[in-house]
């Protein structure tokens, strides 16, 4: 059976709407009566990924694919890209500007948290060519 797929547009630096895609996905999964703990993990990872795009990426797309046995989040943007992916995955490393740190961001925990809370994560990026983060969540692993 083909998955149920929905995509949302993310706008760079739009803090008013930032997070809405994750909340919409959260509501969708709730309607489907999914396990609340699983929904919480997906929502948190989605939110961190979405905020990364709003803050660091260009404009992006947030897609969710729902299957009977898994949920996949695909977050891509056309921003500056990640120069050193392993470094970006380190806890505490952040490229957040001073402005962002003042807003409470830049603890450097986004990507590491996403990796911890998803079942599988793939990051593809190239400097100047944007970034794609794909996260898998399995039901009944």
């Amino acid at each position: 059976m083909a998955a149920l797929k929905k995509c949302f547009h993310i706008k760079n630096r739009d803090f008013i709407h930032a997070g809405e895609a994750s909340i919409t996905v959260q509501n969708m999964l709730k309607q489907l009566n999914m396990d609340p703990k699983l929904i919480r993990r997906i929502a948190v990872c989605g939110y961190e990924g979405e905020m990364n795009v709003v803050m660091h990426g260009g404009d992006g797309q947030f897609c969710v694919e729902v299957d009977l046995d898994k949920v996949v989040l695909n977050i891509s943007d056309d921003g500056p890209g990640i120069e050193d992916i392993p470094k970006a995955m380190q806890k505490g490393f952040s490229t957040a500007s001073d402005e962002y740190r003042e807003m409470g961001f830049g603890a450097g925990m986004g990507l590491p948290n996403m990796e911890t809370h998803s079942d599988q994560m793939v990051v593809e990026s190239e400097k100047g060519r944007g970034t794609t983060v794909r996260m898998f969540f399995f039901m009944n692993p």
């Binding site: 997070g19 909340i23 309607q31 609340p36 919480r40 939110y47 729902v66 009977l68």
Partner: protein, 437 residues
């Protein structure tokens, strides 16, 4: 049913769909140009009453001015009543209210103070016991409680299980009066003068303790025209200041402040707090709480009505005017706490402030009322949506295209109601639309 007291009157309804769009649980549709609502899905928020331009929706909570007051009629007065009379001292309003024939009129100031103490103590103890999950949510607004029970049941444990001020006195007053007057308890009737349609007797909400104690709720709007005349009389007359009429006195502005959005937390010693009012805003924040975006927050005040209870559908005076009246009262009466801490702590430890039932019991009531959804249904809905390509025009009688698509897939709506589908000539073939791949 929580929404039993909301009544739609077809005679005035023009089918404009304002209510359809305003309803937070999407319980209303327009069928054959008239609004109809599902009592199962209604949480009694009164948004439909607020937005209807024709006055075609009303709450049957008010029976108008009580003509047949009981032998011992006692009015429990929401402090919002004081906010309806700019420049008038609350004590004068209470004197005027007695002229309806109430034997006692009860001001809630002391009980608001008790409630706030109980919240502070609960939060303080929760830091060690971790009994309830953070952030804690205020139990005051019945609509918020029902909304959470219906749509966000995982958050029910966050609601602080304390008795509301009206319940604190409601549970005690009959015994007190019986001891003094030596009359049978059934002859004592409690009336709640309130701006809130949700305070009507509702069978689901055992959480709302005061509803178990209160016999009848009266909307402020229903007594306002007469009350304002009595108030004018009281202020003009040569009063016998030694008569029993004047024995009651409101000593500070703590209670009206509490009825204002942000006022509950302004009056408490709790640090990490947030106050939100308005239905859309409250829903947005509830969804954020659900996502865990407030890990450090201790207490969140949520009110379904804009500006808090001051904006209740059964008020008589514009909410901003009422707000300025409350601010005047604060300046003239102050907010000084009066009740002795040791005494309150003793009552708290005896469990006198805890609600009779925990908010979580509401979940079982609502579980069966939520429409079921599967991936298969959702895919059909998404597919139908892509065929409709609509603009949420509500001409079909549903609030938006997604809800209409859900109704169709569930067999509760006719695809021919959608003019987009009719335009494309596919309305009668919706059943045959294959979900591709």
């Amino acid at each position: 049913m929580p929404g039993e007291h909301i009544v739609f009157e077809p005679a005035y309804c023009t089918g404009c769909t304002q209510c359809v769009k305003a309803c937070p649980t999407r319980a209303i549709r327009v069928r054959r140009r008239k609004a109809v609502h599902s009592k199962d899905l209604c949480i009694g928020c009164g948004e439909c009453i607020r937005v209807c331009p024709e006055g075609a929706v009303r709450s049957t909570i008010s029976h108008g001015i009580p003509q047949d007051l009981a032998e011992m009629a006692v009015a429990i007065v929401s402090p919002i009543l004081y906010a309806q009379f700019p420049g008038v001292m609350p004590s004068d309003i209470l004197v005027a209210l007695k002229r309806f024939g109430f034997h006692h009129v009860v001001d809630l100031t002391n009980y608001v103070e008790m409630f706030q103490f109980a919240v502070e103590e609960f939060i303080h103890q929760n830091k060690t016991t971790g009994q309830a999950p953070w952030p804690l949510i205020s139990p005051i607004c019945p609509v918020i409680a029902r909304l959470i029970a219906f749509k966000y049941p995982n958050l029910l444990p966050h609601i602080i299980p304390l008795k509301r001020p009206a319940a604190l006195i409601g549970g005690e007053i009959r015994s007190q009066l019986q001891n003094i007057y030596h009359i049978e308890k059934p002859l004592i009737e409690l009336y709640h003068i309130t701006p809130c349609p949700s305070k009507a007797l509702a069978h689901d909400v055992r959480l709302l303790d005061e509803l178990g104690y209160i016999d009848r709720a009266i909307g402020i709007n229903d007594i306002y025209p007469e009350l304002i005349r009595y108030v004018e009389d009281v202020r003009k007359q040569d009063l016998d200041l030694f008569s029993p009429e004047h024995y009651g006195n409101v000593t500070n502005a703590r209670a009206p402040l509490w009825g204002m959005s942000g006022g509950e937390i302004a009056g408490m010693h709790v640090d990490k707090t947030l106050a939100v009012s308005g239905l859309r805003e409250s829903i947005a924040y509830i969804e954020k709480i659900e996502m865990g975006l407030f890990p450090n927050m201790e207490y969140i005040e949520l009110r379904a009505c804009p500006e808090g209870c001051l904006g209740g559908p059964l008020t008589a005076v514009d909410r901003y005017l009422a707000k300025s009246t409350v601010q005047q009262l604060i300046r003239s009466l102050g907010l000084k706490r009066r009740l002795p801490r040791e005494k309150l702590l003793k009552l708290y430890d005896q469990g006198r402030f805890m609600s009779d039932t925990h908010p979580s019991v509401m979940a079982e009531r609502y579980d069966s009322l939520r429409p079921k959804m599967t991936i298969e249904i959702m895919k059909r809905v998404e597919h139908l949506l892509s065929r409709i390509q609509g603009t949420d025009c509500a001409a079909c009688g549903a609030p938006d295209c997604r809800t209409f698509a859900e109704d169709v897939v569930r067999g509760q709506a006719d695809p021919r109601d959608c003019f987009r589908l009719r335009e494309k000539g596919i309305a009668s073939e919706v059943d045959k639309i294959e979900i591709s791949g």
